[in-house]
């Protein structure tokens, strides 16, 4: 286990909040343009992180809501930003943001659900958009989206679950389509999708959890596949799945918390994939979400299935 320098032992809440706030303000950077096509997810990561930090008041939710609405297309789906095509990934991010802003009443729920439903295939899988890429990530997006909108009945939940289950591999993990290698990101989407579909009995819990706990490396951090490097984002992907399966105790949480804290940039704020790398909003969110899941640093609790603050899902789903 690595020793965490003094300056990084606590979660630098104010620095991270400033970093996320400023990320939303900087419009004249190369990154602003290079990440334009997935800004919807960027805003979701940032806003959720702010909620977990208890700093949501710093964000202009009215402006964010208006912007999200401006990214909706006539077919009900949302694009990654104003100038981009509708896609399930960003439709879920948009719904999550609106849920956080208490603004789900601003959209026509049936219209959004209709878009999601149009992407379900006869085998239960989901395409990401009209161009037909199939992936279990999209199954999660579809299930989460419909459930958050209170419209789960609009899609074939049973078929969706059985497709996801067909992507489980012999190592207990899940791939993007049947037969493809297990990947921790995919394991989160599949386990959470099965949880939403009330179908966790379709997977081998012990085997999946064992594969997940084997992701922890000597550094304390988690990797996404065997013999790969650790990365803060897996603090969310692996941990949320372990949490859903009730096996968080199978990893060393103290070691993981130290690894995440050591990835903080104590000067500029934000969290990176590994210590001393450049920070970004994606890893900042997943680092904070991981700490929240382990009940550390006085953060708001996060819901492992919906990746939203528990207060939000409790309100919406009465969980």
């Amino acid at each position: 286990m690595t020793r965490v320098p003094e300056s990084r032992r606590e979660l630098l809440i104010d620095k991270h909040a400033d970093y996320i706030y400023n990320y939303g303000q900087t419009k004249d950077s190369f990154e602003f343009y290079a990440t334009e096509h997935f800004r919807m997810s960027g805003v979701y990561w940032g806003l959720t992180a702010m909620h977990l930090l208890g700093k949501q008041h710093m964000m202009d939710t009215a402006a964010i809501t208006d912007w999200v609405l401006s990214c909706q297309h006539a077919n009900g789906g949302f694009g990654g930003s104003e100038r981009h095509d509708p896609h399930l990934l960003y439709t879920l991010s948009a719904v999550q943001i609106l849920a956080l802003c208490g603004a789900l009443n601003r959209i026509n729920k049936e219209q959004v659900t209709q878009y999601v439903r149009s992407l379900q295939q006869p085998d239960g899988s989901f395409a990401g958009d009209d161009w037909g890429e199939i992936d279990t990530r999209f199954s999660y997006c579809a299930l989460s989206c419909c459930k958050l909108l209170g419209q789960a009945q609009a899609i074939d939940v049973k078929a969706a679950a059985s497709y996801v289950a067909s992507c489980q591999n012999i190592d207990g993990g899940f791939g993007c389509t049947p037969g493809n290698e297990s990947h921790a990101g995919q394991v989160f989407t599949c386990v959470a999708a099965l949880a939403i579909a009330d179908s966790l009995h379709l997977l081998d819990k012990d085997l999946t959890s064992w594969w997940l706990c084997e992701r922890q490396t000597e550094s304390g951090g988690l990797n996404g596949r065997p013999e790969k490097l650790q990365d803060v984002c897996y603090s969310w992907w692996c941990l949320s799945a372990l949490s859903i399966l009730g096996r968080l105790s199978w990893i060393d949480q103290e070691a993981l918390a130290c690894f995440i804290l050591n990835c903080q940039d104590e000067n500029r704020g934000g969290i990176s994939d590994r210590p001393e790398d450049m920070v970004d909003v994606f890893h900042t969110f997943f680092g904070i979400a991981g700490l929240s899941l382990m009940g550390r640093c006085n953060l708001e609790a996060i819901d492992p299935v919906y990746a939203l603050p528990e207060t939000t899902t409790r309100q919406l789903l009465g969980k």
């Binding site: 290698e181 065997p226 013999e227």
Partner: protein, 361 residues
């Protein structure tokens, strides 16, 4: 940013570098603006889609711009401008996606565009496989490339035996190539299932059980790999699968062959326990022995429950108390050498974590 080091703090930015990055920003933002404006205006002229290609070469993940190119090219691919134009357009797209994949080999949007090209039926699949094999040499673990490979081989009707040879060559080059081991868990049941045929682009969840000769051959392969590096997890995860296959064979045996199947499984367990013992004797440093110890624990558990189920007290074996004690020692040692997973080992010892399928389950 994956793998990019943090810039040092407190140092003012080099004015030359700042100027260069401002210029880069100006050019890139202008290109984005022009392409997305033309896309919104549904402009499908040659100049517009060339600009789109330029943008994708620099930023391959901009899915909207790939959508733009597909819209613009759909007619050409259908042959609206004659077969020559269609071929020319395909060649251009193949080159563009190759450039984009070299820039970002993990670009979902680019791999999907490539798949769309293949779906148009105009791409020679043999060349496609050659290129893939080359790309996979650069990164044998790229799961996007593997996924695409499964699509192309299925489409080309490649026999699974040929792909199995490919995975073997990868494993021989590097025992630690988990992607290749994984591919075997999908291919081998396909090859050895009763109704084996050409490659199917499908999963491994509902698996056919393999003949014992294949299971034994694969266990020998694992022995080679684990002897080379007993701490690499790839072969050990594969080993767990082989054990579950052996167990499944026994469980699925017809009543008249049950006693043979039982003996077969007992022999296999005995041999594998012996192999783990061999590895443990050969390795002086127990800290490198997590995997043989864990596997040994699971083998013993399986053997014990098998005996218990058969009601077969083997008088030559230890009594239940001693067996429990031995397991306890193995898990205690695992907790010492692999403390990160202490919680799992505790649950496993208590019988609350069944990772190897139990007989009669």
């Amino acid at each position: 940013m994956h793998g990019r080091p943090r810039p040092p703090t407190g140092k003012p930015e080099d004015p030359e570098k700042k100027k260069a990055s401002q210029k880069r920003l100006a050019l890139f933002s202008r290109l984005c603006n022009v392409v997305l404006e033309r896309r919104a205006a549904k402009r499908y002229d040659a100049e517009s889609i060339t600009l789109a290609a330029k943008l994708l070469e620099q930023n391959p993940e901009v899915y909207t711009v790939w959508n733009y190119r597909r819209e613009a090219l759909a007619g050409t691919f259908k042959g609206d401008q004659g077969p020559e134009e269609a071929t020319k357009a395909i060649q251009f797209e193949l080159k563009l996606t190759e450039t984009a994949l070299r820039k970002n080999p993990k670009s979902y949007a680019t791999w999907h565009h490539r798949k769309w090209l293949v779906d148009q039926g105009l791409v020679p699949l043999d060349k496609e496989l050659q290129l893939l094999t080359k790309l996979q040499e650069l990164d044998p673990r790229n799961f996007h490339a593997w996924r695409y490979r499964r699509i192309v081989t299925a489409k080309a009707g490649i026999p699974p035996e040929q792909e199995e040879h490919y995975t073997m060559s990868l494993i021989n080059a590097n025992f630690s190539d988990y992607s290749a081991w994984h591919a075997r868990t999908v291919l081998l049941p396909q090859i050895h299932a009763a109704d084996s045929g050409p490659l199917k682009d499908q999963g491994s969840a509902q698996q056919e059980v393999m003949p014992s000769s294949v299971i034994e051959r694969e266990l020998d392969l694992v022995e080679q790999a684990t002897f080379t590096d007993p701490s690499d997890q790839s072969a050990w995860i594969y080993h767990r699968w082989l054990l579950s296959q052996a167990l499944q064979r026994y469980q699925e045996a017809e009543p008249q062959t049950q006693s043979t199947a039982y003996q077969e499984l007992c022999d296999l367990l005995k041999r594998e326990i012996g192999r783990c013992e061999g590895l443990l004797e050969a390795e002086a440093d127990r800290r490198n022995c997590k995997w043989p110890i864990l596997t040994m624990a699971r083998l013993l558990e399986l053997r014990d429950s098998l005996h218990a189920q058969q009601g077969a007290g083997d008088s030559k074996l230890d009594g239940p108390g001693e067996r429990k004690e031995r397991l306890k020692e193995l898990y205690k040692e695992l907790i010492e050498i692999d403390p990160l997973r202490k919680g799992y080992y505790q649950d496993a010892l208590a019988g609350n974590a069944r990772v190897l399928v139990q007989p009669g389950r």
